[in-house]
């Protein structure tokens, strides 16, 4: 049994396996399938200051080894979260991290402040990379100036661990990573979904109500892995890697490429027990290869 503890800034994780925002509900949806306390952390649904209905149905299209979604940040708002959901999840013995979104810098800040007040939420993940909303979201995440602006503003009001989630829909992800590092982000997580599209040839119509949506799942893994590796060579803050992870081997690959921890997203739908299986698989890998601690494999790729 290797030591699985890792740190993301001041945040100590019991193991590097976490679940990705928008794919794991508030954790409780999976309580019948896995022991939530065995997961390193849970990134809950994208939360905004205001109640949002999200995009019209249809919001989903299956694609080769993946899916497109256009949920559009449906959520009942930060107040509802604080009053109605937080009480039910705050005592789960793992880190519950809130994924914070907004349509303007001000709404990001307001939402972050609201969440900062919740004792048992040790970190937020700033979503500047959602491709499924008209305003905000990805618009901030694809330029250094936009990313820096949001992070600077949120950093002022958010004293706990600030993770910034990067968009893969950019020419150079390292540029954005460096920009948010410079503004005091404690960590970056990447990748969010890639902008994609699906068409119904028979109906000659887009499948998603929003025409385009966010691509996720195993299909994006090679791109995500590359971006993690590039970012690892560009910044000093820890990286949380995600994008297409569907087994422990994928998770190990992301850690070798430079991730201090990883998130599993879409694959939770395919195998609701994958998160805990991944913890076990990483442990077996470490034992087999004689590593005493999982930290030994972070960035350990031999190039």
């Amino acid at each position: 049994m290797a030591n699985l503890n890792v740190n993301i800034g001041n945040l100590q994780l019991k193991n590097p396996v976490m679940t990705a925002s928008g794919t794991f509900g508030y954790g409780i949806e999976f309580a019948d399938f896995v022991d939530l306390t065995q997961i390193g952390g849970i990134f809950v649904k994208g939360t905004t200051i205001e109640h949002r209905e999200g995009n019209p149905y249809p919001r989903m299209a299956e694609t080769p080894a993946g899916m497109l979604n256009a949920v559009g940040l449906q959520n009942k708002g930060a107040d509802y979260f604080a009053n109605n959901i937080y009480p039910n999840i705050k005592d789960i013995d793992t880190h519950m991290i809130v994924n914070v979104s907004g349509s303007t810098v001000e709404t990001y800040v307001e939402c972050a402040e609201k969440i900062a007040a919740l004792d048992k939420i040790p970190a937020i993940e700033l979503n500047i990379s959602c491709p499924n909303v008209k305003h905000g979201g990805m618009a901030f995440g694809v330029t250094c100036a936009g990313a820096a602006e949001v992070v600077r503003a949120v950093r002022k009001v958010y004293p706990k661990t600030l993770i910034v989630k990067l968009s893969p829909n950019v020419t150079d992800v390292t540029e954005i990573a460096r920009a948010v590092e410079a503004e005091g982000a404690d960590a970056v997580s990447l990748i969010n979904t890639l902008l994609g599209m699906a068409i119904d040839a028979e109906k000659r119509k887009p499948i998603l109500s929003t025409v385009t949506g966010g691509l996720s799942g195993p299909c994006v893994k090679p791109i995500a892995l590359r971006m993690v590796w590039q970012t690892y060579n560009a910044v000093k803050i820890p990286i949380i890697g995600l994008g297409g992870i569907s087994n422990w081997k994928d998770a190990v690959e992301f850690m070798l490429a430079g991730s201090s921890a990883i998130q599993i997203g879409t694959y939770n739908f395919v195998d609701p027990a994958i998160s805990v299986k991944t913890v076990e698989g990483i442990n077996d890998y470490l034992d087999k290869h004689g590593f005493k601690s999982v930290t030994e494999i972070i960035g350990a790729l031999e190039v």
């Binding site: 928008g22 794919t23 794991f24 509900g25 949806e29 999976f30 019948d32 399938f33 649904k45 209905e53 999200g54 019209p56 149905y57 249809p58 919001r59 989903m60 299209a61 299956e62 694609t63 080769p64 080894a65 993946g66 899916m67 979604n69 949920v71 449906q74 799942g217 195993p218 879409t266 939770n268 739908f269 395919v270 195998d271 609701p272 027990a273």
Partner: protein, 260 residues
């Protein structure tokens, strides 16, 4: 209800029709409790184009044989692959999912209950009829298909109530769509349950609304997870966007914002 992630064994897989198969799944353990209208999410192995699980209604639960039945219409790669599962194969399923149909209290006065199924939408009606019958009701099934070959499991339905049939070509029962059937003019129903193609459900809902009959429909919105985690399956209701997989798949038509 507690959800399970189970490896079930294929006890039988009957090709009822070129486009339909009936999968009978069993387990060494007693299968979890399921209620009519609920569904399961099937992991399809061995289909390179099927990434997500496939939602399939509970067609029937045979408690004596500890069997879960799934009636599957072959429409794409995933369902076609399901038809290839052989006896003894393992099928991984998440179950039971969603909410069921409203079952009236059995000690109330007898009710006229109509169960309308079209195409593969007949699937949940069998189990619903079985449970209603076990509670002392005498459900009437109204089943529609294109031809006589497309109306399946008739022997099973007959065990649990009266069966009315329509076919588009008139080869069995009355000719036309389910909403053309004479029973709708001759009998007054207290509740209608329906599942099938959307145009059919809309027509049934319209009929029910016209006569002020309570009507429950089972929706088949496309799903990624099936248990409330992805928010992909939403239906627009009077309460806003709600997840069909957790708040449904059964909805009272009063709640829906369909144009009926």
């Amino acid at each position: 209800m507690k959800k399970y992630l189970l490896d079930l064994k294929v006890a039988d897989n009957v090709r009822l029709h070129p486009n339909y198969c009936l999968l009978k799944l069993t387990s060494e353990e007693t299968l979890p409790e399921m209620i009519p209208g609920q569904f399961v999410e099937v992991r399809v192995d061995g289909s390179s184009s099927t990434f997500l699980r496939r939602p399939i209604s509970v067609n029937y639960v045979d408690k004596d044989r500890n069997e879960l039945w799934l009636l599957v219409q072959l429409i794409g790669d995933g369902t076609r692959r399901m038809a290839e599962y052989r006896q003894g194969d393992t099928m991984n399923v998440v179950l039971p999912l969603g909410n069921g149909f409203t079952i009236p209290d059995s000690d109330q006065e007898e009710k006229n209950l109509l169960l309308v199924g079209g195409g593969v939408g007949t699937a949940p009606m069998l189990f619903l009829g079985a449970v209603l019958k076990s509670k002392g009701f005498h459900p009437i099934f109204l089943l529609g298909g294109r031809t006589q070959n497309d109306v399946l499991q008739l022997d099973d339905f007959a065990k649990f109530g009266d069966v009315c049939i329509t076919t588009e070509d008139g080869s069995l029962g009355e000719k036309g769509f389910v909403t053309n059937h004479s029973i709708l003019n001759t009998k007054l129903f207290d509740t209608i349950y329906t599942c099938g193609p959307k145009p059919m459900m809309v027509a049934v809902a319209k009929y029910a609304a016209g006569k002020d009959i309570s009507c429950e429909v089972s929706l088949e919105n496309t799903m990624a997870c099936g248990f409330g985690a992805c928010l992909c399956c939403v239906e627009n209701t009077v309460e806003g966007h709600v997840c069909v997989c957790t708040e449904g798949p059964v909805f009272n038509t009063r709640k829906l914002k369909w144009q009926i």
